[in-house]
């Protein structure tokens, strides 16, 4: 099987790995970098958003690209949000507003909303809901997620 060498920076740490060309970025993150906070919810179908990470600061689905496409780029995963044991304001708001139940979708939502709040520091509820279109949650009904994002926006502005 043909391979390629991929060098990426994930949460500030550089990983250089020789991987099959067909390896999806989400599998590179989970299996080669050992960062299992990035989840696979829909068996790589690109519809659930659980595998959302930030590529050069922008939210992308890591099952919709091969790892080779990320060569030379910087990735942030959910493990990169907190500062040591201090949660980010968005993470803290998810805790305080009960914005998760099973938590499976949460890493992808955090990585999407973290970028969303940088782009939209004062979002309406409609803006937040529109921003969440690419992330499926089957527990919460989204109401508490919207509250948490609104609260985090207030705290960080």
């Amino acid at each position: 099987m043909s391979t390629t060498t991929v060098t990426v920076t994930i949460n500030g740490e550089t990983f250089e790995e020789t991987v099959p060309v067909r390896m999806l970025l989400v599998d590179f993150i989970r299996e080669r970098a050992g960062l299992t906070g990035t989840h696979i919810g829909c068996t790589y179908e690109g519809v659930c958003g659980a595998c959302t990470v930030q590529l050069d600061g922008e939210a992308v689905k890591s099952c919709l690209m091969v790892a080779a496409q990320a060569d030379g780029h910087e990735i942030t995963t959910v493990e990169g949000l907190a500062d040591g044991s201090t949660l980010s304001p968005l993470q803290r708001a998810f805790n305080e507003h009960h914005a998760l139940q099973c938590g499976y979708c949460t890493p992808g939502i955090l990585m999407n909303m973290d970028e969303f709040l940088r782009e939209n520091p004062d979002p309406s509820d409609d803006d937040i809901r529109h921003g969440l279109v690419g992330n499926l949650c089957r527990c919460t009904g989204y109401a508490h997620i919207v509250e948490a994002v609104r609260s985090a926006a207030k705290e960080t502005r």
Binding site: V21, L24, E58, V60, L64, H130, V133
Partner: protein
């Protein structure tokens, strides 16, 4: 769904290197990857089984939007997020933002490209009818160094079909400047928020002396590929902004002339109703933009 084994990944820096990489493989064995938001789905489903991925992310000169007096020049690697957030795309170009703001979701808009959408020409896609509605011209560059230009409606065939030859790459999308006061708009309807369009309608028009001087109407979501609605365009000519009866009649003509299909998402008659209702709404929005007003949502 996981990709079948792939032999090679290349990331050329120039158009000629990209075409040279394509030329090393038999037809269909190497594919260009733009944003990959549709293509990677097809690769994972093994509908497409490439031996080589030619990633266009580093190719010089394929990205960005240049607005000049003679119109717009859009690099095919320009992403939806860049079109959606571009401040200079109102009025005659308003349909571009209408479409780009509602493609997929934030993650898809951060990677998906306008050129990728046009070259893939999926049945349920927004950019194909928008390109036709805006009268876009597509510039294709061939491996031998030659280039040709094609009107979007000549480039876009049935679903997943385009006039791109195997040795060609899309290098620019140009949209001519309107002659006078012009406006355009696009809207789609899907099963859920921002879903793939069951039907999408793009209208662009010019207003002179208080009337529509010329119009283009294009419809997407069709089994026959994106189509122009010539009877609706003729009917809109001479229409006064705000004449709801005339606009409704023009869109009734569009629904009558366009062949619609029945599938899992909608039956044929429902698609015709969508053409009428979406068409009337985007025509009002296009008029509003042409006359300096705000388009409704």
């Amino acid at each position: 769904m996981y990709p079948a084994p792939i032999d090679e990944y290349v990331r050329p820096a120039t158009v000629s290197d990209a075409l040279a990489a394509l030329g090393r493989y038999d037809e269909g064995d190497a594919v260009f990857v733009a944003g990959g938001q549709s293509l990677m789905q097809a690769v994972k489903a093994r509908l497409v089984r490439p031996r080589c991925l030619i990633d266009l992310q580093a190719v010089d000169g394929l990205s960005g939007i240049d607005a000049g007096a003679d119109g717009l020049r859009i690099g095919p690697m320009t992403r939806y997020v860049e079109i959606a957030g571009h401040g200079g795309l109102g009025g005659a170009y308003g349909a571009l933002g209408d479409a780009a703001r509602h493609v997929g979701d934030r993650q898809v808009r951060n990677r998906g490209t306008m050129g990728g959408s046009l070259c893939w020409n999926y049945v349920a896609a927004c950019m194909p009818p928008v390109a036709i509605g805006l009268g876009a011209t597509l510039e294709l560059t061939a491996a031998e160094g030659g280039a040709r230009s094609l009107a979007a409606e000549d480039f876009l065939g049935g679903p997943l079909e385009t006039a791109r030859e195997e040795n060609e790459i899309l290098t620019a999308i140009t949209i001519p400047a309107a002659a006078g006061n012009a406006g355009s708009a696009y809207k789609k309807w899907g099963l859920v928020t921002d879903a793939l369009p069951v039907i999408g309608v793009c209208v662009s028009l010019e207003v002179a002396d208080g009337r529509c001087a010329a119009a283009r109407v294009a419809v997407g979501g069709l089994a026959t590929g994106p189509q122009r609605a010539g009877a609706a365009e003729a009917a809109l000519a001479g229409t006064v902004p705000g004449d709801a009866a005339a606009i409704g009649a023009a869109m009734k003509a569009a629904a009558a002339e366009i062949e619609t299909q029945q599938d899992l998402w909608a039956d044929s008659d429902y698609r015709k109703q969508l053409i009428r209702s979406l068409g009337a709404e985007v025509t009002r929005n296009a008029f509003a933009r042409a006359t300096g007003g705000e388009a409704g949502q």
